[in-house]
């Protein structure tokens, strides 16, 4: 085990540098990533053995869930309540809300089911902001180029081009729903939006509302969904399995109603998965910034039904998670802090990386400092300093008005940011890969669309700050529009309610598990993290 420098010593070292020097680097970025990024660790990847992405690399923990058995069997469906709808949206974050609103506006009957309450998601937690190339000196092309480079040239060019082109329309849509954005110079010419710099970008392009953009966005989206008569909302009804027709297409989903402890079978003409990412799996033992429900549920279900996945071995570890106090470990300190001038210092008081390099590079650099014994330890927690000195001068606006969420966090840590630095350590933040989709959000399974963090391809192998909030709205709206169109086409063919499906695909999957010699006793999706497991089945004697 490596050693680390004590907190007291590190504070002294910091104080001895009025202007901390930036240490020259002896490793190329590629070498730094190869040696220190968690994705490159020897135990961070395995090959999928069954399913439509067989042979592709995947994180072992996730592979275990992807190649596991269903939570339900045919018996569970027998007595379950039946419902039907045109479009079933699964997941109540930004992607789900945008898809549901657009589908309803497109004339479809919509049902939105969410595991937690609508809005309790990663979206509400986003602080930094959303990218949109609006400056006269900027263009969608430059947005595209930055994201392509940031994602190591692995993004799907078509999807990425749509992302960059959709941005202005998305911002307009948000304003039309009542979302606020920060302005500079509000007095002239209708005002100009404030742009912040993101790591890895050729120019400032992040739009935000203070440092709680996601909260502002989700409050508006949630209220709009709740007040929309065309959307039926089911809170606390996680999806536990998808339904299939004989031809392999998606027929809807099985929900578990937590309040009444029973299954609901929803037949749908089109199903949109928007269940987000997998941060709560704590890959590679890292803490996470993600909300409680981020357990890869949708990914597991889509794969079992036959959807293709990509880049399931590429994750984003955000450089600045809280490392101390323990109670707040993994919580995010937004990149907005570094964008505004916060510095990263090791235990010797040196800067060791350009703070605005791409996130994977900064993360690898922090892990290197810790591995080399230049990390800092406080009450058993290791990390490096995030020094806010440059944000807290006498002639600067108070931190509380610049970055209120950061001030709130510093208060919770019991830290006075004008004097004391915060201890930070990388935190598992984002799932770069996911379900393969086309330009309208359709997966390789007919009738199944996906939007948001559950999808792969838009960001390649590393996402830039602000492109996830854009992605969930751009593609959430595309998926909603497409689902409404398809549902309408199906209704034109037959006015009968959608056909009820079954779980034939689960039986096929079980045969594959057996053939590959995989353990069929492991069940997924997980639904809830932590040691206490939810039991979906009452004892047989109690079943009606």
């Amino acid at each position: 085990m490596s050693t680390a420098i004590s907190y007291q010593q590190a504070c002294l070292n910091r104080a001895s540098h009025a202007t901390p020097p930036l240490r020259a680097d002896d490793l190329s970025r590629a070498a730094l990533l190869a040696q220190y990024h968690p994705d490159h660790a020897a135990d961070a990847s395995t090959l999928l053995q069954i399913g439509s992405s067989r042979g592709q690399p995947c994180h072992p923990l996730l592979a275990g869930l992807l190649q596991s058995n269903a939570l339900i069997d045919g018996f569970d469906l027998a007595g379950a309540e039946q419902r039907s709808t045109d479009v079933l949206v699964l997941g109540g974050g930004g992607a789900g809300a945008a898809a549901a609103l657009t589908a309803a506006r497109g004339g479809a009957d919509v049902m939105l089911a969410s595991k937690l309450r609508l809005g309790d998601s990663n979206t509400v937690m986003a602080e930094g902001g959303i990218q949109a190339a609006l400056a006269a000196s900027d263009s969608p092309q430059q947005h595209f180029d930055d994201a392509m480079r940031g994602g190591h040239n692995c993004a799907d060019p078509q999807l990425l081009a749509q992302l960059a082109s959709d941005a202005p329309g998305v911002i307009r849509w948000l304003i039309e729903l009542g979302m606020h954005f920060d302005l500079v110079d509000a007095s002239s010419d209708g005002g100009k939006l404030r742009y912040k710099q993101a790591g890895g970008c050729s120019q400032p392009r992040i739009l935000s509302y203070r440092d709680y953009t996601g909260l502002e966005m989700m409050c508006v989206l949630r209220e709009t969904v709740e007040l929309e008569p065309g959307i039926q909302l089911l809170n606390r009804c996680p999806v536990v399995e998808l339904l299939s027709h004989e031809d392999g297409s998606c027929a809807g989903a099985v929900l578990y109603d937590l309040e009444y402890q029973r299954f609901i079978v929803v037949s749908a003409r089109q199903t949109i998965l928007a269940t987000g990412g997998c941060g709560r799996l704590h890959l590679q033992g890292f803490p996470t910034s993600n909300h409680y429900g981020a357990t890869a549920d949708g990914l597991v279900l889509a794969y079992r039904l036959g959807a293709q996945l990509r880049d399931m071995d590429a994750f984003q570890y955000h450089p600045t998670g809280v490392a101390w106090p323990q109670r707040l470990r993994g919580g995010l300190i937004s990149e907005a802090a570094r964008s505004a001038g916060a510095m990263l210092l090791n235990g010797l008081g040196e800067r060791f990386v350009d703070e605005l390099a791409p996130r994977d590079v900064v993360t690898a650099a922090i892990l290197r400092e810790c591995a080399a014994g230049r990390g800092i330890v406080r009450d058993g927690q290791q990390g490096v300093f995030l020094d806010l000195r440059r944000l807290c001068g006498p002639d600067l606006p108070a931190l509380a008005s610049q970055l209120p969420a950061l001030q709130h966090l510093a208060d919770k840590c019991g830290i006075d940011p004008t004097r004391e630095p915060m201890l930070v350590y990388p935190t598992l933040h984002y799932q770069n890969g996911g379900v393969v989709i086309d330009s309208q959000g359709q997966s390789s399974v007919p009738g199944l669309l996906c939007a948001g963090e559950i999808t792969g391809g838009i960001h390649g192998r590393n996402r830039l700050m602000g492109n996830a909030l854009l992605d969930i709205l751009a593609f959430g709206r595309r998926a909603g529009r497409q689902a409404a169109r398809q549902a309408q086409a199906a209704r034109n063919k037959s006015s009968l309610p959608p056909l009820r499906g079954g779980i034939e695909h689960v039986y096929r999957w079980q045969r594959q598990l057996a053939l590959a010699g995989l353990d069929a006793s492991q069940q997924a999706p997980l639904l809830y993290p932590g040691q206490a497991r939810l039991t979906l089945h009452r004892p047989a004697s109690a079943r009606a």
Binding site: A135, S165, L193
Partner: protein, 215 residues
């Protein structure tokens, strides 16, 4: 840390680690946690609402469980989220005409005028928002000022629960904030970009990066 303390959550006594939050303590308990949880410490989702009474105190206060550190002898009960029946529906589209702002507010939230100034909402708010003052400003027609007060609201609905007149103060606040953006926010740079796109300019060349990475 060796010392452990005891708190009671929804009537069950549990051992807790000093320094942990109420929410963390509940997660270490024997039951699967499926509600009243979301962001787990960021304090933005508003789902972990609870009532807290400290040992030896009479007063019960509303708190966010993920932001509240446990103390020995604390009693906690979580509050379920519900949607009341008397929700007043409106659509963003309805808010476009600023000239109708006052009559529309009165129509959509008629209870606003009935505020008793009991201060229940102020006491409930974990964010320290002067909710009652916001409602007073709104009913006086000072809509911008009222909206501004609700800026840091996380929509935890505790003020709505506390209000004896069914005013739903946070929803009034959000309504006013939305109206403000819908009516006033017309950034020049966004208008220009939308217009350029409408004229078919600014298409993206998806192959440009290939040439660059080869060179």
């Amino acid at each position: 840390m060796s010392e452990t303390i005891c708190i009671s959550i929804d009537g069950k006594v549990m051992a807790a680690q000093p320094g942990d939050s109420i929410l963390q303590t509940r997660l270490h308990g024997p039951d699967a946690v499926t509600a009243n949880i979301g962001c787990m410490g960021q304090g933005v989702c508003g789902s972990c609402r609870c009532l807290v009474r400290k040992a030896g105190e009479r007063e019960t206060v509303s708190r966010l469980a993920c932001e509240t550190v446990v103390e020995d002898g604390m009693q906690v009960s979580f509050i379920d989220y519900y949607l009341p029946d008397h929700v007043h529906r409106y659509r963003p589209h309805d808010l476009r005409d600023g000239w109708q702002a006052l009559p529309q507010l009165q129509q959509t939230f008629p209870e606003t005028a009935h505020c008793r100034h009991c201060g229940g909402c102020d006491r409930a708010c974990p964010r320290g928002i002067p909710v009652q003052q916001g409602i007073a400003l709104a009913s006086r027609g000072e809509l911008q000022a009222a909206a501004a007060l609700f800026d840091p609201c996380i929509m935890c609905n505790l003020c709505t629960l506390a209000c004896p007149e069914n005013i739903r103060p946070n929803h009034v606040g959000l309504y006013l904030r939305r109206a403000q953006a819908i009516q006033n926010l017309r950034p020049g740079d966004l208008l220009r970009r939308l217009e350029q796109q409408a004229r078919g300019q600014l298409a993206i060349d998806t192959t440009a990066h290939l040439a660059r990475s080869e060179s």
